[in-house]
C-alpha cells in the first residue's frame, strides 16, 4: 500500500480533532511533491512514498543505558526517544524539556502539513532568559520498528540573553525501510545564541525528510551544521527568518555519501531586517552512484539594508557516476547589501595527490587526506570537540583508511 493510502486508512481508524482532520484534508489535496515541483526537481519522492509503511508505531520499548551510550556521542546531557516515547531528559537548571509537541507553525510545504496533521512525537525545550548552558545537549531519536513511518515534531525556545548547543541524531535501529518526517521549530529571542548540529548517518535503507524553521529576533545568532554521512535518502529544508536587526544566521554542512544514496540540502535565509548577516558553507563529496542536491536561496527584502550574505557550495565528484545539482538562488530587493555566492564542482587535484604520494602516503590515504582537507573548514565550525572527533572518525571510515585526522 502506498504511503498516502496507509495514511488515509490510519486517519479513518483514528479519531482526529476537526483541526487535524482539516490539515490532513489539505495534505491529501496537495499530495506529496513531485519532480514537477521546482523545489523537488532533482529529488524524486515517488519511489519512497510508494513503499509499504507501518503507520501506527506506538510501543513501550525501552533501551538500556549502555546501548544508548554506544549509539551516541556520550555527552552528559541527553534527550532520548525510542519510537517516539521520551525515555530520558536531562536535568539542567534553566532548561525545561517535555514531550509536548502539539504546536502551530507556519505551513510552508506538504511535508510540514502532514507533520502538523499527524505527528505525535517530539519535544518542547525551553531555555529561560539569561541562562548560558555550556555543556551541549544530545538529542537522540531511535526507531526499532520495521518499515515504519514516523513523524517527530519539536519546538525549541531560546529566551532573551540565553545560549545553548545541541547535537541531534535520528537513527533507525530496525535496519529496514523506515521513513522519518522530522520537523523542528526554533524561536531565538533577543541576544540569544544557538548551535544546532545534525548527524545524519543512518542505516542503508533509512529515509529522512527534515524541516527546520528558525525564527530570529534582534541580536540573535543561530548556527546549524548538517552532517550527512549515510542513509538511502536525506532531504533537509532549513529556513531562517530574521525578524529583527543585527541577526546572524549561519549554516554549514558536509555531505559524504556513496552507493546510490541521495542527499539534498535546501536552505533559505529570509533577510527581512537591516544590519543582518548570513554565512553559508556546504561541502559535498560524492562516491559511487550517489547524488547530491544543493539549493541555497537568499532573500533580501526591500528595507533590509546593510546585509552581508555569503554562500558557498563546493563539491567533489569522486566517481564517474556520481552527480550534484547545485543552485544558488539570490533575490535581492534592497540596494545597499553585500551578497556573494560561489559554487565549485571538481575532482581531487592530481598534482597534490602526486605530491603526497612522493612523501610516502599511499594513494587511498592521499585521497582521503585531501578529502578530509576539503572538509576541514566546516569541521572547524563545530564547537563541540566530541563531535569533531566523531566526524573525523566517520570520514576516515567512509573513505576506508586507517588514519587519525586529528591534529598533532
Amino acid at each position: 500500500m502506498s504511503l498516502v493510502k496507509s495514511l488515509e486508512s490510519y486517519v479513518a481508524k483514528n479519531n482526529l480533532s476537526p483541526e487535524k482532520k482539516k490539515l490532513f484534508a489539505s495534505f491529501i489535496n496537495q499530495g506529496f511533491p513531485t519532480i514537477k515541483d521546482e523545489e523537488w526537481k532533482y529529488t524524486p519522492l515517488k519511489k519512497i512514498i510508494s513503499l509499504d509503511y507501518n503507520i501506527n508505531n506506538q510501543t513501550d520499548q525501552t533501551l538500556d543505558a549502555t546501548f544508548i551510550k554506544n549509539n551516541s556521542l556520550g555527552l552528559k546531557h541527553k534527550i532520548v526517544f525510542c519510537n517516539g516515547n521520551l525515555l530520558e531528559a536531562p536535568n539542567i537548571s534553566g532548561l525545561t524539556v517535555s514531550d509536548f509537541s502539539d504546536f502551530e507553525c507556519r505551513i510552508n510545504d506538504t511535508n510540514t502539513l502532514l507533520n502538523e496533521a499527524l505527528a505525535k512525537n517530539g519535544y518542547t525545550i525551553s531555555v529561560e532568559s539569561n541562562v548560558t548552558i555550556e555543556e551541549p545537549v544530545e538529542i537522540l531519536f531511535f526507531n526499532t520498528l520495521e518499515n515504519s513511518f514516523s513523524q517527530y515534531r519539536s519546538i525549541i525556545s531560546v529566551m532573551k540573553n540565553s545560549s545553548i548547543k545541541f547535537v541531534e541524531k535520528i537513527y533507525d535501529l530496525s535496519n529496514s525501510n523506515s521513513l522519518v518526517n522530522n520537523f523542528t521549530k526554533i524561536l531565538c529571542e533577543e541576544n540569544s545564541n544557538i548551535e544546532f548540529n545534525k548527524i545524519q548517518n543512518n542505516t542503508p535503507n533509512s529515509k529522512l525528510i527534515d524541516c527546520m524553521n528558525i525564527f530570529q529576533e534582534r541580536n540573535s545568532t543561530a548556527l546549524v551544521n548538517t552532517f550527512i554521512f549515510g542513509g538511502d535518502f536525506v532531504r533537509n529544508n532549513l529556513n531562517f527568518e530574521q525578524n529583527g536587526k543585527n541577526c546572524e544566521s549561519n549554516m554549514n554542512g558536509i555531505s559524504l555519501i556513496d552507493r546510490d544514496q541521495l542527499a539534498d540540502n535546501h536552505t533559505f535565509v529570509d533577510h527581512k531586517n537591516a544590519h543582518c548577516r548570513s554565512n553559508e558553507m556546504y561541502k559535498g563529496i560524492y562516491l559511487d552512484k550517489s547524488k547530491g542536491v544543493f539549493n541555497g536561496k537568499i532573500m533580501v527584502r526591500k528595507d533590509a539594508q546593510k546585509i552581508d550574505a555569503f554562500q558557498s557550495n563546493n563539491n567533489l565528484l569522486l566517481s564517474d557516476l556520481s552527480s550534484i545539482d547545485s543552485k544558488p538562488q539570490l533575490e535581492i530587493y534592497a540596494d545597499d547589501v553585500k551578497c556573494s555566492h560561489g559554487c565549485t564542482i571538481g575532482q581531487l587535484d592530481q598534482e597534490a595527490l602526486f605530491y603526497m604520494r612522493s612523501r610516502g602516503i599511499g594513494v587511498e590515504e592521499a585521497k582521503a587526506v585531501l578529502t578530509y582537507a576539503f572538509t576541514s573548514e566546516v569541521i572547524d565550525k563545530v564547537s563541540i570537540s566530541e563531535l569533531q572527533k566523531l566526524i573525523r572518525d566517520v570520514l576516515a571510515k567512509k573513505l576506508n583508511v586507517d588514519l587519525d585526522f586529528s591534529l598533532v
Binding site: 587535484d349 598534482e351 597534490a352 602526486f354 605530491y355 603526497m356 604520494r357 612522493s358 612523501r359 610516502g360 602516503i361 599511499g362 594513494v363 590515504e365 592521499a366 587526506v369 585531501l370 578530509y372 582537507a373 576539503f374 572538509t375 576541514s376 573548514e377 588514519l403 585526522f405 591534529l407 598533532v408
Partner: protein
Amino acid sequence: MLKIENLKAEIDGIEILKGINLTVNAGEIHAIMGPNGSGKSTLSSVIAGKEEYEVTDGSITFNNEDLLDLAPEERAHEGIFLSFQYPIEIPGISVSNFIKTSLNEQRKFKNLDPIATSELLRLMREKMKLLNIKQGYLSRNMNEGFSGGEKKRNEIFQMAMLNPKLSILDETDSGLDIDALKIVANGVNTLKNNENATIVITHYQRLLDYIVPDYVHILHDGKIVKSGDKNLALEMEEKGYEWITKEKSL
C-alpha cells in the same frame, strides 16, 4: 645506490629524455645543470614516479631494485625524496599533520608503530631550529600563502623529517634570497652523511657555492652531454649554456 641506464621518457608523445646514463653512489652529491627545456625537471619527476611520463626505454635501479616497477609512495618508502620546484598548496591540512601522516605512512611500511607525539614534536623542534623556522609555522596550512622561500624551506624541512637515502632537489634555489639560500644549503649539508646521496638540479651555479657537488653533469636536449667536477659548473657559468649548444653542433 642509483643507476640510470639509457633512460628514455616521453610525455604526450613528445620525447623529453633521450638516453640518460647516471650513477650516484652513497655519500655523493651530484649537480645536474642545463638550460630551460633540457629535461632536468622531467628527470626528477621520472625518478620520483610521476605517472604522466611514460618511460619508453632504459632502466632505473635503486639499491639494485627496479625502481620503474614501483608506485611513487613505494619509491618514497625505499628512501627517495623529491624536493619540488613548485611545492603544492594543500589548504585544510596543517604542516604538522601532513608531516605526521607521511612519517607514519613510511613507518607503517617498515612495520613500525606510529611515532609518539612527544617524539614527533621533539624531532620537529630540532629540524625547525636547523632551518631557522619559526614557531607557529606548524599549524599553518600546507604551503598555503607561503612565500617562495617558505615553500622551499618547507620542502627541506620535510626532507629533514623523513630522512631519505636519496634526495633530489629540483631548483631548490629558485625564489630564494641569499640568506634563505644559505639556511637551506646549511640544512642540506648538515643532513648529508656517508649513507645518503643528493642530486641538486639547478639552473645557476650560485647554489653550488654552498652545496658543493662531487660531480657536475650538463643536461642538454634530454641527454647528459658533459660531466666533470665542481669546476665544470664554474666554467658553465662563465661561458653560458650556449657554449654547450655550440660545441654540440660542431
